[in-house]
Symmetry: C2
Subunit: 132 residues, 2 copies
DNA sequence: GTATTTAATAGTAATAATTATCAAAAAGGA
DNA sequence: TCCTTTTTGATAATTATTACTATTAAATAC
């Protein structure tokens, strides 16, 4: 995979963020360094980088995918109201993959615990849906 | 909640299916019994039934929502290629909620294990994306 | 039983997120 | 440098979902 300037900066900015941004949220950040970048380039590269195993694509509830530059294994919680995602610190004494008894023919290569909840903002009753 | 004919048949057909159908997949099934039903009625009722806790809405970010008429607690695996969802049988000896050490201000009310993998069709290399 | 109110439906328009397309530019050799 | 391949920016197209609205059906009041 070629390391273009766009690709490098997208990865760099994603890694800086601890917010698990959506494509358009990351677009807003990257635009500050590359004002002429296209949203399509963001989508394309996030897809590509996750294929290459350099970032995580988070397909949790909510209508938008989110992305994570932190490749260390860890759990997430997502807000069922606004879709925000946060890391969760957990005890590390369970091997999830060992729990499977029957996967109905699916080849499983990843398993993780996901929590659902309300983010601090949504707990306050803020209508933060639109900020998502 | 009124029990209309449409609502009843949507619930009935969803419960028959073990496939975790999308709204449009269920639409195709229900149409056989109610040829004049609207896709909007399917969406509306699936939303309503899940609000009432009668069915599960399975949300995978950036993908079509899927629905499950089986309310017994169980785990799912979804195919990262085509989005199909299947039940996973698991050992039932872990209390996920006890694993949390720090949820960064999120109020957590549910936690579950979710698996990612490839469905039997996608393993064969079938381009089943369109059949989804 | 008929009138009035309320909820649900079908059909379709609007919206939001993502993906596809394509000509131009950039990257990486030979 | 010249040639080939990859990537990009701009935008069109698609997909999934939600919103809207006139009509119909159900429930309740009279
Ligand atoms: Mn994370
Ligand atoms: Mn299920
Ligand atoms: Zn929230
Ligand atoms: Zn598949």
């Amino acid at each position: 995979m070629r390391i273009t300037n766009q690709r490098e900066i997208i990865l760099e900015e994603l890694r800086k963020l601890k917010t698990h941004p959506t494509a358009d949220e990351l677009y807003d950040v990257v635009k500050k360094r590359l004002p002429r970048i296209s949203i399509a380039t963001i989508y394309r590269n996030l897809e590509r980088l996750s294929e290459e195993g350099m970032i995580h694509k988070l397909e949790y509830g909510g209508r938008q995918k989110r992305f994570d530059g932190d490749m260390r294994p860890h759990c997430h919680v997502f807000c069922v109201k606004c879709g925000r995602v946060s890391d969760v610190e957990t005890k590390n004494d369970v091997n999830i993959m060992d729990m499977v008894l029957d996967s109905k023919g699916f080849k499983i290569f990843e398993g993780g615990v996901q929590f659902e909840g309300l983010c601090p903002l949504c707990q306050k009753g803020d209508d933060c849906e639109t900020l998502q």
